[in-house]
């Protein structure tokens, strides 16, 4: 599945300053591995030592928070847009 991923500013040093990258993956889990292949080092920033998504990072699939979907097992379709957003904002 080819999906578009929006990359937050603090991670753009891993994507050669690109704000969006194209990736593959049938789930968020697979997407993380695909991202790591094209942008080495990025996964360690997104996940903690036990492989869980960091507490201060939110993932959205087509604007929906994956915590309202299936979390890291959320399925991805061709053409989906995945947005990675630091949790600390707003208010």
């Amino acid at each position: 599945m080819a999906v578009k991923v929006l990359i937050p500013t603090p991670l753009q040093k891993f994507t050669r300053d690109q704000a969006t990258v194209e990736c593959n993956g049938g789930t968020i889990n697979e997407l993380l591995d695909s991202l790591e292949q094209s942008c080495p080092g990025i996964k360690a920033r997104l996940c903690d030592d036990s492989g869980e998504l960091r507490r201060f990072i939110n993932f959205y699939v087509n604007s929906e928070d994956i915590r309202f979907l299936e979390g890291k097992n959320t399925a991805l379709q061709e053409g989906d847009e995945v947005s990675i957003v630091p949790a600390v904002a707003g208010g």
Binding site: P8, R45, R54, F56, S63, R67, F68, A87, V88
Partner: protein, 435 residues
């Protein structure tokens, strides 16, 4: 207004802060437009040189300052001695009489930011700081993700400072909040979605546009403005801390910063050390922080908001976990109330103290009442309830719950008849209450 604001970049830095520090992992950063740690994504906090502050700031130096939040300038993250001062802050701390008696409390105060300047909510505090810092960092366009009050404030103060402004709000906001933004001439993006969606969109826009988003890339500076709600209460109580505070919870930032304000005053010796109990108020239709507190969790599960208290309807609160921490460690509570209780809270404050607050204030008063009734606030405690917004902005919420005027002819007998009817209705209402 106490100072002219046209003057621009200062020739000499009066900064008392040393940079930014990650609240989670402690990594240090320069004081730029950054809001999260690039390693762990924790929030960045402004770091100050407190030993220098202890040497230079006294009660007298503060009292000699302007009658606004800028009397606390050494505790705020700006370099200039000439900040944007639109008279924000130093709002009344009202000792209540009738409300205190009604609730059975001995000393209850209202910190009344319903009359904060210039846009009648506490947001003028954070925006004054954020836009002063935005100017120092060289931004010419400022922006925000808002539930209404912040949009009013950002648009107004940007207009005053001559900054370009583009604000983002949920499309279904109260009419008063939309009109109260448009009047200042910003670009207003009404997003078809809830606040959390607006917020996410703004994070994406901030990645691609070089704007100063007050509550995204300028958030470490912006949020510091809320500390002044702590400082002012301490000063207005005669340089003492209260025993208990009750404040509304949206993102949880205000709550954490009032706490930080009290701690800083203790640290530099302006007030005596004591533990202030912190209790938070949420609307039941959007209560992720209250749920985490109740269930003893150390993480927040996001919710989809559904409440009339739109200004605090944040389903995915950035500082929620810090608010839970503070309530726990100070032996406070976090409670939620229904929309019906919120309306009753607005009416109770208006009818006993003559203060017309918006739905967030109704939430705070309703939670205050609930906590007193549950024995969770001691009648002997000096308690401060923070009222953060003005009721004229959320008129839709109470329409239909506050009666109608009596329409009469311009004749004495028409008045007499109407008065008698009104008194009879009053009596009936009392009888109902007594039954």
């Amino acid at each position: 207004m106490t100072q002219a604001t046209q003057a621009t970049t200062p020739t000499q830095s009066a900064a008392t802060f040393t940079g930014l520090k990650c609240k989670e992992c402690g990594a240090d950063y320069e004081a730029k437009a950054l809001h999260v740690c690039e390693f762990c994504f924790g929030p960045l906090e402004v770091a100050y040189d407190y030993s220098a502050l202890s040497r230079t700031v006294t009660r007298e130096t503060i009292q000699a300052g302007p009658n606004s939040i800028w009397r606390y300038r050494p505790f705020l993250p700006v370099q200039t001695n000439n900040p944007i001062d639109v008279g924000t802050g130093m709002t009344p701390l009202v000792q209540t009489n009738r409300l205190a008696r009604r609730l059975g409390l001995k000393r209850l105060y209202i910190k009344n930011d319903a009359v904060n300047m210039p846009t009648l909510s506490f947001k003028d505090r954070v925006v004054s700081v954020a836009l002063t810092r935005a100017r120092e960092l060289g931004f010419s366009t400022v922006s925000c993700a808002s539930t209404g009050n912040l949009a009013n404030s950002t648009a107004a103060i940007a207009a005053h400072a001559g900054l370009e402004c583009c604000v983002f709000i949920p499309a279904d906001l109260e009419a008063g909040k939309i009109l109260g933004t448009l009047i200042y001439g910003p670009t207003v993006m009404a997003v078809q979605g809830n606040y959390d969606q607006v917020n996410r969109l703004c994070s994406e826009v901030a990645n691609t546009h070089g704007w100063g988003f007050v509550n995204i890339n300028l958030r470490p500076y912006y949020s510091e403005g809320s500390k002044t709600l702590g400082y002012e209460v301490a000063e207005q109580l005669g340089w003492q801390l209260p025993d208990h505070i009750v404040a509304p919870l949206a993102s949880g930032s205000l709550f954490s910063k009032i706490h930080k304000g009290f701690q800083e005053f203790i640290k530099v010796g302006l007030v005596e050390d004591k533990t202030v109990r912190f209790s938070g108020a949420q609307a039941e239709g959007c209560s992720p922080i209250a749920q985490a507190f109740r269930e003893g969790r150390d993480f927040i599960t996001p919710v989809k908001p559904n409440t009339i208290a739109k200004s605090i309807a944040i389903g995915n609160p950035a500082d929620g976990i810090y608010a839970v921490d503070i309530a726990r460690k100070t032996n406070g509570n976090i409670e939620s109330v229904t929309d019906a209780e919120i309306i009753e809270g607005m009416k109770l404050l208006a009818e006993t103290e003559g203060i017309f607050t918006e739905t967030a204030g109704g939430t705070t008063i309703a939670v205050l009442k609930k906590l007193v009734e549950a024995g969770k606030i001691d009648p002997e405690e000096t308690t401060v309830a923070y009222i953060t917004g003005n009721g004229l902005k959320t008129q839709e919420a109470v329409q239909g719950y506050i009666g109608e005027p009596l329409t009469i002819e311009p004749k004495l007998d028409s008045f007499e008849r109407a008065l008698e009817r009104a008194q009879t209705l009053d009596r009936l209402e009392w009888q109902q209450v007594l039954v």
